[in-house]
Each structure stands twice: as C-alpha cells, then as structure tokens.
C-alpha cells in the first residue's frame, strides 16, 4: 500500500462523487466525464492492488490478512459494479448511484491502509 496512491484514489473518488451529485442536481444522466473519471479511479485501484500484492509476496503480513484481502478485492470491483448499475438507470439518479460507489471506495482505501500498517510481530 502506498499513501500517495491512497490520497490520489480518495481525491478522484470524491471528484467522481461530486460529478455524480452534479448530474443528479442538473437532472441529467451520466456522461463521458463520469466514464473517464471512473476509468481513472479503477486504474488507480488496480495499481494499488498490484503494489499491495507485490509487497505481500515480498513478505509483508498485515495482522488481519483475511480482512485485508477481502477489502482489497471488493474495492477493485466497486467502481465496476457502480458503473454497470448506473448505466442501466435511465434517470438523473444514475449519478448518485455512481457517487455512492465512489464514496464507499474513498472510505475503504483508508480502512485498507489502516489494516496494512498493523502487522503481526
């Protein structure tokens, strides 16, 4: 886990949540800006997962390894699930659905960082 990456992920996630809220406020469906931001978020999350996997293989052991792995896998899937579900919503609420997924990602990466830094012995 890298703290700068966690910060970057949080910033992009908050931007995505804001874009989602904006499209809901303007009574519009999600557009290209949402797609590009979601793609960027996903890219950063995959990079984070790769960094974490390399460190795990290298011998880093978070105390709550099972929880850490469950979170790591879930957080990578969240933007994809959020986007797929938002795309099938034909109203202005699509942006908020995507925003919920983005905010969940922002919370989860900080929780992941917590779990990462507590190691056994």
């Amino acid at each position: 886990m890298s703290t700068p990456l966690v910060v970057a992920i949080s910033v992009v996630a908050v931007v995505l949540a804001a874009l989602g809220a904006l499209s809901t406020a303007l009574r519009r469906r999600i557009g290209t800006a949402h797609l590009v931001t979601t793609a960027l978020l996903e890219l950063l999350l995959v990079a984070q997962a790769v960094v974490a996997t390399v460190a795990l293989v290298g011998g880093h052991r978070p105390a709550e390894l099972a929880t850490f792995l469950a979170y790591l896998v879930s957080v990578v899937l969240l933007p994809v699930a959020g986007l797929l579900w938002a795309r099938t919503e034909p109203t202005r609420w699509a942006g908020t659905v995507l925003g919920v997924a983005a905010l969940a990602v922002a919370v989860m990466v900080w929780r992941l960082l917590d779990l990462w830094e507590v190691t056994r012995g």
Partner: protein, 135 residues
Amino acid sequence: MAEDTAQGPGRVLVAVYAVFALAAGARAAVQLAVQFDEAPLAYLLSALAAVVYLAATVGLARGGRGGRRTAVVACSVELLGVLVVGTLSVVDTAAFPDDTVWSGYGRGYGFIPLVLPVLGLLWLRHQAEEAAEQG
C-alpha cells in the same frame, strides 16, 4: 411496474444497502472464522446484520409485492437491531469488545446504519402508496 422500488432514488438506496451488505458480510465472515471465541455474541450479531442487509438489498432490488414485503421486514429488523444493539453496546461494553456495524448506533459507520432503515421504510411506504393508486 414490478421493479418500482429499484428505480430512481430507490436505486441509490439499493446501492447503499449493497455496500453495507458487502462490508458487514466480509467483516462477519472473518470474525466468525478467525476469532469466534473472543466475543460470540457480537460476532453473531454482525452476521445477523449482514443477512438483514442482504435481505433488504434483494427485496428492494426485486420490488413488486413480495420484494417490498421482504424489504419492510428487513428494514424493521434492522431498525430494531440498531436501536437494541446500540443501547446494549453503550450499557454493557464488556459484551461488545469489538465494534459491530450496529454498536453505538452505527457510530463507526457515520450513523448511516441508524438513518438507512428509516429512509428505507419511508421509501417503501411511498412505493406502496403509488402501487395502491395504480390499483
């Protein structure tokens, strides 16, 4: 429409419920598998919370009469759970050494567990009224 409850604002509600089902489920699975002996009551409640969130998610996502009924039961159990467990965790801290989703009225999760069932029940009542109007 059968899928009424999962349209518009309802879809946002389902998204939040899905996130909570995921978070509570992952947490409960790990707690039960790894450290069940430490606080059986708290961990069993975590698992119950996860099941309730999952039921609410499915009920809201499916919609229709059956879906709404499932969701009403799940949201009611959830509201009851967060109030009872919240109170117990404040009164008897020894039984709840580890936080569950419902400890301290959902304090660890921004009090969302307390607000969510209320929003869910309001939304379901609104949906039931619309369904009744349409006959």
